[in-house]
């Protein structure tokens, strides 16, 4: 029941975020300079920020950025991990030690500091689209190592399995064996990795945004929307500033509820020959 409720909440958040242009009372970057830091009213349900932008509209657009791009970054990590694990397992010469070493190096790199250095090298007026690509692209590229370790171990088991041998003796092509025989077993692992990475990336984006290193304004994201929380007087004056944080916490709780769900995990029932 809790899992279904969590799923319903997540779907609702995703739907509202995707419909942001239709629902939002104003564009996310529209500034009404005569109505800065205004309290909530009929036109601005959550009030306005210091530049006169509608907080509710910015929350909707910010949710859209996070809801669309976090899963995309997680998917990029999982796809990269799958692609890099394949040659390590299918006996491409020197690929196994190369991928293993590359994974170890990737896991030991302080990605946050590298990202701060990278952003420091960029001009201050970096465009929002560049910052989006950098933020989520870097998350996607830097997050492949842990899933790659999981996939490599799983694929090694698959490679040495009896059914892969049977497929080889049937004359099946390697890519076909991976696709037909391997994927049904890797799919649940890939989904599990996605479920692990999505909340990690939501929090990462929030952390970067809080530091002013995430998505560049005026484009909103959960990360740069919670920057306002650094100013207690703003929070006291307009508690609606907490809305992005509340939404982030709600989404994280719902994702955690899904992680423990036994009824939506794919192919969880064991099969055995009798």
């Amino acid at each position: 029941m809790i899992q279904r409720l969590a799923l319903a909440v997540l779907l609702a958040v995703a739907a509202i975020a995707l419909l942001a242009p239709a629902i939002a009372p104003a564009p996310y970057d529209y500034q009404d300079r005569e109505k800065t830091n205004a309290p909530p009213d009929r036109h601005s349900p959550m009030g306005t920020d210091e530049l006169g932008r509608d907080r509710f509209s910015r929350l909707l657009y910010g949710t859209r950025v996070s809801v669309l791009l976090v899963p995309a970054a997680a998917l990029l990590s999982v796809v990269l991990a799958l692609l890099l694990s394949l040659p390590a397992v299918w006996r491409v010469p020197l690929a196994a030690p190369a991928v293993s070493g590359f994974t170890t190096i990737s896991l030991s790199l302080p990605w946050l500091f590298l990202y701060i250095i990278l952003r420091a090298e960029l001009p201050l007026n970096t465009s929002p689209s560049t910052s989006v690509i950098l933020t989520f692209g870097l998350m996607g590229v830097s997050g492949w190592a842990v899933p790659a370790r999981v996939f490599t171990a799983a694929m090694q088991q698959l490679r040495d399995s009896g059914w892969v041998l049977q497929a080889q003796t049937s004359g099946m092509r390697t890519w076909r064996i991976v696709l037909v025989h391997g994927w049904p077993h890797l799919r649940s692992l890939a989904l599990a990795q996605l479920r692990i990475l999505v909340p990690v990336y939501i929090l990462s984006e929030a952390n970067l945004g809080l530091l002013g290193l995430g998505v560049a304004p005026p484009l909103p994201s959960w990360g740069n929307l919670i920057q306002d929380l650094q100013h207690p007087d703003v929070v006291r004056a307009n508690p609606w500033v907490l809305a992005p944080l509340a939404l982030l916490i709600l989404v994280m709780i719902c994702i955690e509820c899904l992680q423990t769900s036994p009824d939506i995990s794919p192919e969880s029932s064991p099969v055995s020959l009798r």
Binding site: Q166, T169, G171, R176, V180, V271
Partner: protein, 283 residues
């Protein structure tokens, strides 16, 4: 005029090793078209290694093979990976030991059949091809069975399905690696009879690998005894049973029950319909 000598479908002389450990040393044998040869040896004597070596799959499992493997007049040892892929499942079929291990439990029977077909054919399979193939190994060709997952099959059904997959492209040679060791006695006899029927019907030569001399005696035209990495004795089943020459073969025969030894070659007796398995009244 003397008849032309029969060209063996398979002739090999090979040495197989894992690193420095030599598992098979200069093992040599030939199998004529349509012949059933049984390879008997103890567990760990290198029987499965020989099967993997003949399929050129030993290198995938960390081993190495030197020597010669000639299939239908074609030397296999120098062939590329792609060329060998074209031979596996097409000219050499392989029936593994355990359906529990060899059938992907998540795949449907229809998927396994379709993928095995696609490995060597670009055209669609003829209508009802899979149904008739399944019926040839005494499995139902119904859509219900085709939609079953391999993990839902019984061991006997799984073994028959493995045989169906192995014979789909009508190979010249079938390597059967202890295909009955996971089966109960009745299913074992039925599967042995099925192998004999397929051999007679399709003319497929069979290399039957087993540790059980008794179970394959009736099936075989010739028995090869593998011991400590080499073939130590070769002969007709009757000769192996009644006058074994090598001490290992003598020990093997002596280990069999006396009354069974004296009645060789042994016919796998299966009551009920031919190879379909018996039907018994309920308790």
């Amino acid at each position: 005029m003397a008849a032309a000598p029969v060209k063996p479908v398979l002739e090999f002389r090979l040495t197989a090793r894992y690193g420095a450990h030599v598992v098979l040393r200069e093992v040599h044998a030939a199998i004529d078209p349509g012949q059933i040869v049984s390879l008997i040896g103890l567990s760990g004597s290198g029987k499965s290694t020989l099967a993997m070596a003949l399929l050129r799959l030993l290198e995938y499992r960390g081993g190495a093979v030197t020597g010669s493997i000639v299939l239908e007049g074609r030397e296999l040892t120098g062939l590329s990976g792609a060329a060998m892929r074209g031979i596996r499942g097409n000219r050499i079929g392989y029936v593994p030991q355990s359906p529990a291990a060899a059938l992907n439990p998540k795949l449907k029977v229809s998927t396994l059949l379709r993928e095995t077909w696609r490995a060597h054919a670009t055209a669609k399979p003829p209508e009802d091809a899979f149904a008739s193939l399944l019926e040839s190994v005494r499995l139902p060709g119904t859509s219900g069975f085709l939609n079953q997952r391999a993990g839902e099959l019984s061991t006997g059904q799984g073994q028959r399905l493995l045989i169906a997959l192995a014979i789909m492209h009508k190979p010249a040679l079938l390597l059967a690696d202890e295909p009955t060791s996971a089966l109960d006695a009745i299913t074992q006899a039925a599967v042995l009879r099925l192998f004999r029927d397929l051999n007679r019907r399709l003319g497929t030569a069979i290399l039957f690998i087993s540790h059980d001399l008794l179970s394959v005696a009736a099936l075989s035209d010739r028995v090869e005894i593998l011991h400590e990495g080499g073939l130590v004795e070769s002969g007709a089943p009757a000769q192996i049973f009644h006058s074994p020459r090598h001490p290992f073969t003598q020990a093997l025969v002596a280990a069999m029950p006396r009354d069974l030894r004296s009645s060789s070659p042994l016919e796998p007796e299966v009551p009920g319909p031919e190879a379909a398995g018996p039907e018994f009244p309920p308790p």
